[in-house]
């Protein structure tokens, strides 16, 4: 065990801290996507190598050498100081790495720089009402008509569709091929005629998700990533990116520490909540889980740095990270009791109602990004070598 990053990296960390100290008053404070403040902060971060660090300069990135530890330190320092880091969103976190890996030179030049700069906002068109966990059974079709694809069908759970300029979308182009081989990966503008967006209000009452309907939407032929029928493999090149980032134990730790603070201040029947041994025990139980996932995370990081095997440790992180966070938020509500119910302006509202909001939000994340059940399939099949599910559709055909 060697848990230090070494003097070179501690110097790097110092540099990040100084940058944050000097510049944090320029950071956005909840401004809209595409506002000047958001875009100039993003530019400042790219120039200093604190986001888009390893993306080549010609595509609008910083052009730095890949360095897992530096990336981790940047993340840690921005999180620690609660300073907004570089822009995220599905365009930057999912489409950009995909294009860099599988896009044409022209696609990279056209799409990556404005996306990184926060000028081009994307949404992701994957899930459909009848294609959730079984994503590869998706039915939205695209038929080539001259120089254009004609897209028909619908997508669901489309975050930020109402704000997006473009969509990266999985469509079925080869209806007669086996289901994984009949899909293509298209890019098109959200203001193309034939697109209708309906908000899908979630249980937190946020209007973040949408249903998106396509009726004879015409897309230029060249706006495809990879070849016809390769869309499933293009999409899978980045699904792993999404899964890794859900349920980060470091932010769960921040929440736990806040909960402990609440329990020390809030009283019931004149007794501090922390003085209730049952609550204390439940908090300690969850603290050990938070610690174990944080160290699991460090083990995974270490395995990436040193090129060693920690496959199982990595596979369980989405499953355990999201379940833990949901449990923690629920525990906070239990500890606060009726005060934990407050969800709207009053003297008793705690942390802006975030405990109820996150309790529900993380229930959503247990389901989204590959449900806990799908994660368990992955762990048992790829991690433990147990057999795959029998395929009933193929058995029926045979």
């Amino acid at each position: 065990m060697d848990l230090s990053y070494g003097p070179e990296y501690e110097a790097f960390r110092q540099g990040v801290r100084e940058f944050i100290e000097t510049n944090r008053d320029r950071a956005p404070r909840g401004e809209a996507m595409k506002s000047d403040r958001v875009q100039s902060w993003q530019k400042l971060l790219i120039d200093n190598g604190y986001t888009a660090r390893t993306i080549p300069r010609e595509y609008g990135g910083h052009g730095g050498e890949p360095d897992i530890i530096k990336a981790r330190i940047i993340g840690e320092e921005f999180a620690r100081s609660q300073t907004p880091g570089g822009l995220g969103g599905q365009g930057i976190s999912m489409l950009v790495p995909t294009l860099l890996e599988l896009g044409t030179e022209e696609q990279k030049k056209r799409f990556v720089p404005p996306t990184l700069a926060g000028e081009m906002i994307w949404c992701q068109g994957y899930s459909e009402p009848n294609a959730g966990s079984d994503l590869a059974s998706l039915r939205t079709s695209a038929v080539l008509d001259g120089d254009e694809w004609v897209v028909n069908g619908s997508k669901i759970w489309t975050s930020t569709a109402h704000l997006a300029d473009w969509i990266f979308c999985l469509v079925r182009t080869e209806p007669d091929a086996p289901k994984h081989q009949g899909i293509s990966f298209l890019l098109f503008k959200m203001d193309t005629p034939g697109i209708e967006i309906q908000p899908l209000v979630d249980m937190t009452m946020a209007r973040n998700f949408n249903e998106v309907f396509f009726t004879d939407v015409r897309v230029p032929k060249e706006q495809i990533v990879g070849k016809r029928g390769e869309g499933w493999f293009v999409a899978n090149a980045i699904l792993g990116h999404e899964r890794d980032s859900l349920g980060d134990p470091n932010s769960t730790l921040t929440r736990l520490n806040r909960l402990i603070e609440i329990a020390r201040q809030e009283t019931v029947g004149g007794q501090r909540l922390i003085d209730n041994p049952v609550f204390r025990d439940r908090m300690m139980k969850i603290q050990a889980r938070v610690m174990s996932l944080r160290f699991n995370d460090q083990r995974v990081l270490s395995s990436r740095i040193n090129n060693t095997d920690a496959r199982l440790a990595r596979m369980i992180s989405k499953l355990q990270g999201t379940e833990l966070r949901h449990d923690l938020e629920g525990l906070a509500i239990d500890i606060m009791g009726e005060i934990g119910l407050m969800y709207g302006r009053s003297d008793y509202l705690t942390d802006n109602g975030s405990w109820q909001q996150q309790y529900m939000y993380f229930l959503g994340l247990i389901i989204g990004g590959g449900t806990s059940q799908i994660q368990k399939n992955i762990i048992s099949e790829r991690g433990l070598g147990m057999p795959k599910e029998p395929k009933f559709d193929q058995q029926a055909k045979a």
């Binding site: 065990m1 060697d2 848990l3 230090s4 990053y5 070494g6 530890i69 402990i260 020390r264 922390i274 003085d275 041994p277 204390r280 025990d281 908090m283 300690m284 139980k285 603290q287 050990a288 889980r289 610690m291 174990s292 996932l293 160290f295 699991n296 460090q298 083990r299 990081l301 270490s302 395995s303 740095i305 040193n306 060693t308 920690a310 199982l312 440790a313 369980i316 499953l319 355990q320 059940q373 994660q375 368990k376 399939n377 762990i379 048992s380 099949e381 991690g383 433990l384 070598g385 147990m386 057999p387 795959k388 599910e389 029998p390």
Partner: protein, 360 residues
């Protein structure tokens, strides 16, 4: 940065596992348990040959001078093989106490014998983590009086004894006024018992008035017990997967049913983070003493919960066979059950974790 076992630690793991696979398979453990053997000298001699009791002893005393993580690696192997051996008290608790609170003369007397395997130790510490009924050992003018309950590694040459003032003593098993009474318990791989002292002379270790050495002994002991549970849990998962891959029902191996696969996935999902927690806790014992107490508490409590879950789930995956003595899966179930209670059950250890953070 390297969060994980070193090459040397992996090699240690391999060699201990290989020895136990060959020389201490379940049949040997069964024989030990069913015949109520007191010591398994054949196994202990092999572990001595591998250098296990020398792990924490300084080189100057004939030891190998490694750390808590190395000892935890060994403990994990012992748990995996449900091995009867006085490793915990002899190779970990006693040398930790003697190194911290022994005079030069005491170190010279005990440590070389520990390292070469000629002196084994048991440990009477239960009263320090929660005295039951009228148990308690008092020390006056170099003599011990009273009763120690649930003494671990009972059939040993010496005992490490905590008195009611949190001072530690060393007492040979043949000391005058000392009587030993076996307490039959569920885990037959680990003999525990009751020792009464009647004006028994003791070799007292230094007392700093704060019980620091005792606390350190309990901390490292908890980490080791957690490592034992980790090894036992991993073995139960491995056996579950293997059994499910071979057992057929409804014309398919039961490993192809999601109900079974998900139970196995859940076990893996609990075990992997526990391993990281354990490694970290063992690491801080040597490298970060300020954090080590909290980590030791959390690791002991967390592995206790994980172990109970694995014990139950793995048994269920094995169906009726899991319930039989024929298969012997219950040896691991009981090992985990023992580990949960010894040196503090999860609730009381979590309360210590809260106290360590000033929360109670």
């Amino acid at each position: 940065m390297e969060f994980g076992l070193s090459e040397q630690q992996t090699a240690l793991q391999d060699s201990v596992n290989r020895f136990l696979d060959e020389k201490a398979p379940l049949e040997r453990v069964r024989q030990y348990s069913e015949e109520r053997q007191e010591r398994a000298d054949d196994i202990w001699d092999g572990l001595v040959e591998l250098g296990l009791p020398a792990l924490l002893v300084p080189e100057s005393q004939g030891g190998i001078e490694l750390g808590a993580l190395d000892a935890a690696v060994a403990c994990e192997c012992l748990g995996r093989h449900v091995t009867p051996s006085p490793f915990l008290s002899t190779a970990v608790l006693a040398p930790t106490a003697i190194k911290l609170a022994g005079s030069e003369e005491q170190q010279n007397r005990y440590l070389p014998e520990i390292a070469n395997g000629s002196a084994t130790f048991g440990a009477a510490l239960s009263e320090a983590t929660g005295a039951r009924r009228d148990a308690g050992v008092s020390a006056t003018r170099g003599k011990l009086n009273g009763k120690a309950l649930f003494v671990i590694d009972l059939y040993s040459d010496n005992y490490l004894v905590a008195d009611t003032d949190n001072q530690l003593h060393i007492v040979p098993s043949d000391a005058s006024g000392l009587t030993i009474n076996t307490l039959p318990q569920i885990d037959r791989t680990r003999p525990i018992g009751e020792i009464t002292f009647n004006s028994t002379p003791s070799d007292a270790l230094a007392d700093d008035g704060q019980g620091s050495a005792l606390r350190a002994v309990i901390d490292i002991g908890r980490v080791m017990i957690a490592a034992d549970t980790l090894g036992a849990s991993q073995e139960m998962l491995d056996q579950s997967v293997q059994y499910a891959m071979g057992r057929e029902q409804f014309n398919r191996v039961i490993a192809s049913f999601q109900a079974v696969k998900h139970m196995c996935a859940e076990m893996a999902a609990e075990i992997e983070p526990s391993r990281a927690l354990l490694w970290y806790a063992a690491h801080t014992i040597d490298e970060d003493p300020e954090e080590s107490h909290l980590n030791a508490c959390h690791t002991k409590a967390h592995l206790s919960e994980v172990g109970s879950f694995i014990g139950k789930t793995a048994t269920i995956v094995h169906g009726g066979m899991g319930f039989t003595d024929l298969l012997g899966l219950h040896y691991w179930f009981k090992r985990i059950g023992y580990n949960r209670q010894i040196l503090g059950g999860p609730e009381s250890v979590r309360e210590e974790a809260a106290s360590a953070q000033g929360l109670c």
